[in-house]
Symmetry: C3
Subunit: 163 residues, 3 copies
């Protein structure tokens, strides 16, 4: 007899499209950060999944995985030291000194493996540094983060027979 | 007679690899950026998809989705203020002051949701800042961007039965 | 005779999950980088795949593809110039001058297309800059990198018939 008809097309591979988590936010001039709370970035460049909460100033992890966080801060008026916190613990510190007439930019970045529920935020180190970070309508200080690789339990992608 | 041989194997499913868009470019010393046009970064570190055009100085979005853009600039000779533009509108500003003998680095970054045809570039804010960004053969000022998540209409990946 | 039975179902599409490569490391205060060797970042924020080797100070590429590297350095005590090397060649340079009492932050970043076995590291440009990068228990200097798009040999995803 004739050969049979072709088999069905395979299923699509898992794709990473459903796993989106990113934010990019900026300081507004009317808020002067102090060391007793997370810095609240209330200007939104991107926050489609609403994983950054501009009331608390915290990013909250919904999709476990490896994220990259980065910040770019305008240092004006005094020295600054800022820490990136993960769920109550400092992770990485950025210090920049200021001299009158020489406003500076300071930036930092770190990749972290997060679990669902982990929170990440920026906060000034102590009261010495209060009001050291600057922004106005055309000078920004920003905080961004994005999911690079979700940590999803998938069957071994090299063994399609198990599926 | 006997049945025919089995049909051909079905086609493979889709994969997420085809959606690539990234660039990383640097300033060349012989070009001194001015405020009347996009900064042209003509030194190429990566531009495989040619989505950054070093004639116009603009990145042009081909694959809709969420991108991260970042820049690292050498500030020499005078104060600088630079804006990242998206299709004719300023999005984010970076200011850095300069004092003689204290060359600085300024950087910025932002995540943006782009549509096909959107253009993104860096430009000095006004003529006050002309020629404030520096590069030569072993001092760089760079601009990079990359697609993080394409915005592709796919059937619900959690419901393969619909396919 | 009757037609044969249908062919086997096609294989699932590739997915991007198995291709993970990222690191994020920091300088420890007790190590003062000098220009005769890669800077060794021995504080680990993320290095799950162990592609960064904190003995040699080098990232070694296992998965070919396009990576983004970025660094955020604390400049204290003297001017600094640092280069990002790829397998023995300088790729991108970052210079920052220091003035007493005005500690600065310098950062850089670049996207690179790597082949398996390529090594990437940071190194001071020459002995003039020895000991110019600073870190202690609550002041960081960091180096991070992550795979954005693996370069895997797949048949043209837009033409499944060729498979
Ligand atoms: Ca400055
Ligand atoms: Ca400086
Ligand atoms: Ca400073």
């Amino acid at each position: 007899g004739f050969p049979g008809s072709p088999g069905l097309k395979g299923e699509s591979g898992e794709n990473s499209f459903p796993y989106h988590s990113a934010f990019s936010v900026g300081l507004r001039g009317k808020i002067s950060p102090t060391s007793d709370a997370p810095i609240r970035f209330t200007k939104t460049f991107y926050n489609e999944q609403h994983h950054y909460d501009d009331i608390s100033g915290k990013f909250r992890c919904s999709i476990p995985g490896m994220y990259y966080f980065t910040y770019h801060l305008t240092i004006k008026g005094k020295d600054t030291k800022v820490a990136l916190f993960r769920s109550g613990q400092t992770v990485v510190f950025t210090l920049d000194q200021f001299h009158c007439g020489n406003l500076d930019q300071a930036s930092g970045g770190v990749a972290l493996n997060l679990f669902a529920g982990d929170e990440v935020w920026l906060q000034l180190y102590d009261a010495t540094f209060d009001e050291s970070i600057f922004a106005d309508s055309n000078n920004d200080s920003t905080f961004s983060g994005f999911l690079l690789t979700p940590r999803i339990t998938v069957s071994d992608p090299f063994d399609n027979r198990k599926r």
